[in-house]
Symmetry: C2
């Protein structure tokens, strides 16, 4: 998996540009995020994963690193209304982030690649004179599994 190494090298460069140091802790956090790309981890979940790797990274460091990387546009901070912030790696080459589908029954979070908000953005920029840099879109409903399923449904979280 040379791809991961290359990606880490690219992040190191982003750090250097802003005079931030690439420490073992930061590297391991990035590595873990790369290994869990599809996950939307919270700070505590990430911290738990790091512990499994026998690292002694403190929770405060995890928070500080995530904040820093959000500032560097390496991660996006997300909120799905469950009382904690969640994070995901930015897609380096995507014009915009994808959208999230939050299942109201099993709480799974699915993703959609399609953007299709260009039309709406153009309208907003024209009508409201608001210059858009990014957007966050979540759809709430029932995933296909939960539409079939009985009344209970498994809960993906806790």
């Amino acid at each position: 998996m040379n791809k991961v190494k290359k990606q880490l090298e690219s992040y190191r460069e982003q750090f250097r540009e802003r005079e931030y140091k690439m420490t073992p802790q930061r590297r391991l956090i990035l590595q873990t995020l790369l290994e869990n790309k599809e996950q939307h981890l919270s700070a505590e979940e990430l911290h738990a994963l790091l512990k499994e790797k026998d690292s002694e990274i403190g929770l405060a460091t995890v928070y500080r690193t995530l904040e820093l990387m959000e500032d560097l546009s390496i991660v996006h901070k997300l909120n799905f209304g469950d009382g904690r912030s969640r994070y995901e790696l930015c897609q380096p080459h995507a014009e915009h982030q994808h959208h999230h589908l939050v299942c109201l029954r099993c709480n799974r979070i699915l993703e959609v690649k399609e953007d299709l908000l260009q039309q709406l953005e153009t309208l907003i920029e024209r009508e409201h004179g608001f210059q858009i840099f990014d957007h966050r879109v979540s759809f709430y409903g029932y995933c296909s599994d939960c539409q079939k399923g009985g009344t209970t449904g498994e809960d993906a979280n806790e």
Copy 2:
């Protein structure tokens, strides 16, 4: 302002259907939300407004009432990434909520009436078999004032 009274009566009915009681505290909270429709209040801000009216409603009651009203689909819980939840009354007759424009410089939150997500929703329902009930959309950028203004810009919050 007979309109407000009518609206309160309608909320009372929603409460009754679920066997919740309409207490003076709940009525005053609803009234205050109606008087601040365009505001996106946090629980503490709402609590402060209630205090100005010489009511002795406890903060815990405010939280409990907001939770209850979210469950009744009377209010929407919103998150703009400022570390606290914010609430707004649902638009009773709107198919969907409007969208929010979050200015990254002055932190003002503007609104757009246009929905225009139907096309995207149709695509998602078809391609992903995901049955959509609602969506939350926020756009991040610079409002028209902040595009003109200097480098500082006033901060609408704190």
